[in-house]
């Protein structure tokens, strides 16, 4: 019997301060062997438990894409015991990763369709994985237009700046970034995600919307998507309830009878409409 | 008892009918023999369920912190002491609270009943004056009510509410001073004996925190046992040391605030002797500062005040 509680030892090779406020770090983890890497086949939208030996483990969405072999990437906000320990960790330290866990974005369903990815703040991690996955030359042809709408309070809080710059230049993707208030030197858009979405979102016809962000952003963007004509079956969300086991046993991440860890974290709006609002 | 119950009902109905309060918190008949259960009545009809019996053991002060609106509470002596302590801690607004005081000569301890019935289930209890008839499946025993009372009730000298807006029933005669006999006995043991006793008692703890949640003065937004940054204490119930630490810190935190109502011990499903620790601190506070929590509205909480001549036997002097 495979023991789903055992983490896979990996080496933390990069501890990168992602945002200006220093509260988000991006960690690059390297597998110790090819065999280990093979034992961790994942898809965009899945998460894993990161384990700091001596401190515990906590769940985080995987920010890297399976099209980027050799390493895993996680962008982590400093909020609890494990994330704080990670932030302070020296490069070269041994940590653990347990997973991949949960379901993933329905990339098969997206084939032949347009996709609009809407992200706010540091909830952009698994969305990065998704965009990177679909943009891979072997796969880009499977999808129609790819639009990314990404907002943060200010430019310094946007994640993955280098990639955003590359996407800006790419004909394969239409990137719209926005910040809450005008800042000197910012040439992009200014405004909140719901308003920007209303303005720039592609036609809902033949299009999936994938949305991740703080609750308030979700709350105000949802009516916009409905107004634009996105049916609940084509609005995809990722939940992040508190989790421990990640395998549907410890009981804390349930929304109604569904466990976010095992049955999610990816749900369609239509699925969530059938569940209580405990997320 | 029936008369008291009727008087409580009448008082509550009147308060609700006249809209003097929005809510009356009292006791209804519970689902087990000898069991009162907290009732929240918002209409005179709901207040019809109010009752009074020897199983109204919960400390209702626990439900009064930070309440909106005008609330009336049916309160025994110990409930009122906790209310007084909580008013002083700004947890209860006296202006919005109406106290229906009930003099109380003690509540029956179901553990003692079970012991008399030899572990058989109590199915019915009849109280006639000072005698109780306990009926189980194919068995019946009689006992003096006084022998069945909770230890906290036996030790209690404040059966009469120290403040109230309305009194139901007759005030009881004053009781003798508390002699803390069992605490003195415990103090006279050697450190090793005390340690052994604590270990055996707290190895039973399952860390369900019923004691903490039943305690009217345990209301920290985040209890130190739950805190994980830093993690002050291990979360596993297997570690008796941690179980003891939990109780010791809890007891120290309620020193000078604890009214010795015994709610913690009554709530414990594992039957741990929790009052041994709480009463030890009650005794210490009384001896050191001549103070008792919640016995009048004037005294300041013993450990929240300072005078230059406070005894400081705990200071180590070179």
């Amino acid at each position: 019997m495979k023991n789903p509680y055992l983490p896979l030892p990996v080496k933390l090779v990069k501890n990168f301060t992602e945002t200006e406020d220093k509260l988000i770090h991006t960690f690059t983890l390297q597998f110790l062997s090819e065999e280990d890497e093979k034992s961790f086949p994942y898809m965009p939208g899945q998460f894993a438990e990161l384990c700091v030996f001596g401190k515990g483990e906590a769940p985080f969405g995987i920010a890297s894409s399976p099209t980027e072999p050799g390493f895993l990437k996680f962008s982590v906000a400093k909020v609890g015991v494990v994330s704080t320990a990670l932030h302070l960790m020296e490069e070269g330290t041994m940590v653990g990763v347990r997973g991949p866990l949960g379901n993933y974005y329905p990339v098969e369903e997206f084939k032949g369709k347009n996709v609009v990815i809407i992200g706010g703040g540091f909830a952009f991690t698994t969305l990065r994985s998704l965009a990177t996955y679909m943009l891979h030359p072997d796969r880009r042809g499977d999808y129609g237009d790819i639009t990314v709408i990404y907002g943060a309070r200010n430019p310094g809080l946007l994640l993955y700046k280098e990639e955003l710059a590359a996407w800006e230049q790419s004909p394969d993707i239409n990137l719209i970034t926005t910040i809450d208030r005008p800042v000197e030197g910012w040439n992009g858009r200014v405004g909140f995600i719901p308003a920007v979405t209303e303005e720039v979102a592609p036609s809902a016809e033949n299009t999936y919307a994938i949305i991740c962000g703080p609750p308030v952003m979700i709350k105000f963007t949802m009516p916009v998507l409905e107004k634009l004509g996105f049916p609940a079956e084509r609005i995809i969300m990722s939940l992040e309830n508190r989790m421990k086991c990640g395998i549907g046993m410890c009981g804390r991440c349930n929304v109604g009878g569904k466990y976010v860890c095992k049955d999610g974290p990816v749900f369609t709006r239509a699925q969530l409409n059938e569940l209580p609002n405990e997320y | 008892m029936q008369k008291l119950a009727d008087q409580i009902k009448d008082a509550a109905k009147k308060l609700l009918a006249e809209q003097k309060v929005d809510l009356v918190i009292g006791f209804a008949e519970g689902s087990l023999p000898l069991r009162g259960t907290p009732l929240f009545a918002r209409t005179p009809e709901e207040a019809d369920k109010l009752t009074w019996n020897l199983g109204c053991e919960n400390n209702l002060a626990n439900y009064l912190r930070k309440r909106e609106g005008k609330v009336a509470v049916v309160a025994k002596g110990c409930d009122v002491r906790s209310i007084v302590a909580l008013i002083k801690e700004n947890q209860i607004n006296r202006d919005n609270l109406y106290i229906i005081g009930v003099p109380c000569s003690g509540m029956i301890d179901r553990k003692k009943v079970n012991a008399i019935l030899g572990g058989k289930e109590l199915l019915e209890i009849e109280v006639n004056g000072d005698t109780a008839t306990l009926k189980g499946n194919n068995c019946s025993e009689t006992a003096k009510v006084a022998d069945l009372l909770h230890n906290s009730c036996k030790d209690c000298r404040y059966g009469n509410p120290v403040i109230y807006d309305e009194l139901v029933g007759e005030l009881l005669p004053e009781k003798e001073t508390d002699d803390f006999a069992e605490i003195k006995k415990f103090e006279s043991k050697t450190t090793a004996q005390r340690r052994a006793f604590m270990n055996s008692e707290f190895s039973k703890c399952i860390r369900c925190y019923a004691c903490r949640n039943a305690c009217p003065v345990c209301y920290c937004e985040e209890c130190f046992v739950d805190c994980n940054q830093p993690e002050w204490i291990g979360k596993s119930a297997l570690n008796t040391e941690d179980n003891i630490l939990f109780q010791v810190v809890r007891v120290f935190h309620s020193a000078g605030r604890c009214t010795d109502c015994g709610a913690c011990e009554r709530a414990c499903p594992m039957g741990i002797n929790l009052r041994l620790l709480t009463r030890k601190l009650v005794k210490d506070v009384k001896e050191l500062y001549n103070a008792e929590a919640g016995v009048n509205m004037d005294d300041k909480a013993a450990l929240a005040t300072f005078t230059a001549d406070d005894p400081e036997p705990f200071l180590v002097k070179e």
Binding site: M1, N3, P4, Y5, L6, P9, F53, G54, K55, G56, A58, V79, T93, M94, G96, P215, N241, R242, G248, M249, C250, G251, R252, C253, N254, G256, G257, K262, P276, E278 | S31, L32, R35, G36, T37, L39, F40, N58, N114, G119, K120, E121, K204, R207, C208, Y209, A210, N213, A214, D226, G234, K235, S236, A237, L238, A263, A267, P269, M270, G271
Partner: protein, 339 residues
């Protein structure tokens, strides 16, 4: 087969050589399942143990694995308990609870090796309940005082002896060489009589309960139901079907163990996010979750109610939150079934 009560201690003594034997042991005013070193320690009294038998298979606290981490790698070692066990004197309700928990620890995607290994290596010897307590309502939740679900052997108390009923092959192997005599027709009749006479007097009506819970999540009744609940974990820790747990590290620097401890959905921190957001903000949401989990979510997921009617939560709640009353209130709530 039949075994005299006088022979039980020596039977257990024989088992102790080969198995870890657990049986109810008197602890002050109640009994608890403990591993026994001598058959004489078993206290086969009336009624339920204070804590359910689930703790033998799913302990309140257990080490999952140990680790030793260096710059080169991490050495991890699972700590799986595969010792052979016999649980003697388990009540049918407690045995049934394990069949419910099997769904959780062996779900559609994952297997819990700790639970499942113990479960596979444990033989459950039940004793039927001749005199169920007034708080027992097993027959209302598809159990019964002599129900054999989850058991390997069932013992029926006929006074000074037990009539032994073999439920599984595993159970049979346990008594193959025990030298028990065959039960006479009179013994069998006595066992049948004991079963007949055992009355579960308490009935909880679950008709329409699930249908009501399907639609009354937002019903105002929950405001009233939870009101007196203190939010402690007594009911969850004493419940044979509650299975929530927490995982923590017990370590010095990088060397130590990962441990799991029972946790409770009654506690506010159970669902608190790192961000401070809490999906179940108040006691109302938490208490509702407990009822929903047992009587709706579990039914939706596994087709069975996650309550075995043992009555422990009723007897031990500090404020007499009685689940029977709660369920009656839920059934009487005004939520419209057609809405």
């Amino acid at each position: 087969m039949i075994v005299s009560k006088n022979d039980i201690p020596s039977f257990l003594d024989k088992l102790i050589g080969e198995y870890q034997v657990f049986a109810p042991v008197q602890e002050g005013s109640y009994t608890l399942f403990k591993q026994i070193c001598s058959g004489a320690d078993a206290a086969l009294t009336d009624g339920n143990t204070k804590l359910p038998a689930k703790e033998i298979i799913f302990p309140q606290s257990e080490k999952l694995f140990s680790y030793n981490v260096t710059a080169e790698g991490a050495k991890l070692e699972s700590i799986i308990d595969d010792r052979k066990k016999v649980v003697f004197g388990v009540r049918p309700c407690d045995a049934k609870s394990l069949t419910l928990l099997d769904n959780v620890f062996n779900n559609d995607k994952y297997q819990d090796p700790y639970y499942l290994t113990r479960r596979a290596n444990t033989i459950l010897v039940g004793i039927g309940c001749n005199s169920p307590a007034s708080t027992c309502f097993c027959t209302s939740v598809k159990g019964g005082p002599f129900d054999t679900k989850g058991l390997d052997l069932l013992l029926v108390d006929i006074g000074d002896a037990y009539v032994v009923e073999v439920v599984t092959e595993k159970g049979k192997t346990l008594i193959d060489n025990a030298g028990f005599a065959s039960a006479s027709e009179a013994d069998k009749a006595a066992a049948a009589k004991a079963k007949d006479e055992a009355q579960v007097t308490c009935q909880v009506n679950t008709d329409g309960l699930k249908e009501k819970l399907d639609v009354n999540f937002y019903d105002p009744i929950w405001e009233k139901i939870h009101e007196k609940c203190l939010g402690c974990g007594a009911c969850t820790y004493l419940c044979p079907t509650c299975h929530c747990f927490d995982i923590v590290d017990d370590a010095v620097d990088c060397n130590g163990c990962r441990v799991r401890n029972w946790d409770s959905c009654a506690f506010p921190l159970f669902t608190l996010h790192g961000s401070g957001h809490n999906p179940r903000t108040s006691n109302k949401e938490r208490y509702r979750n407990r009822i929903m989990h047992k009587f709706k979510y579990f039914v939706d997921n596994f087709g069975e109610i996650a309550c075995v009617g043992c009555g422990r939560c009723i007897k031990n709640c500090p404020v007499n939150m009685d689940i029977r009353v709660v369920l009656e209130d839920v059934r009487g709530s005004e939520a419209r079934l057609d809405s």
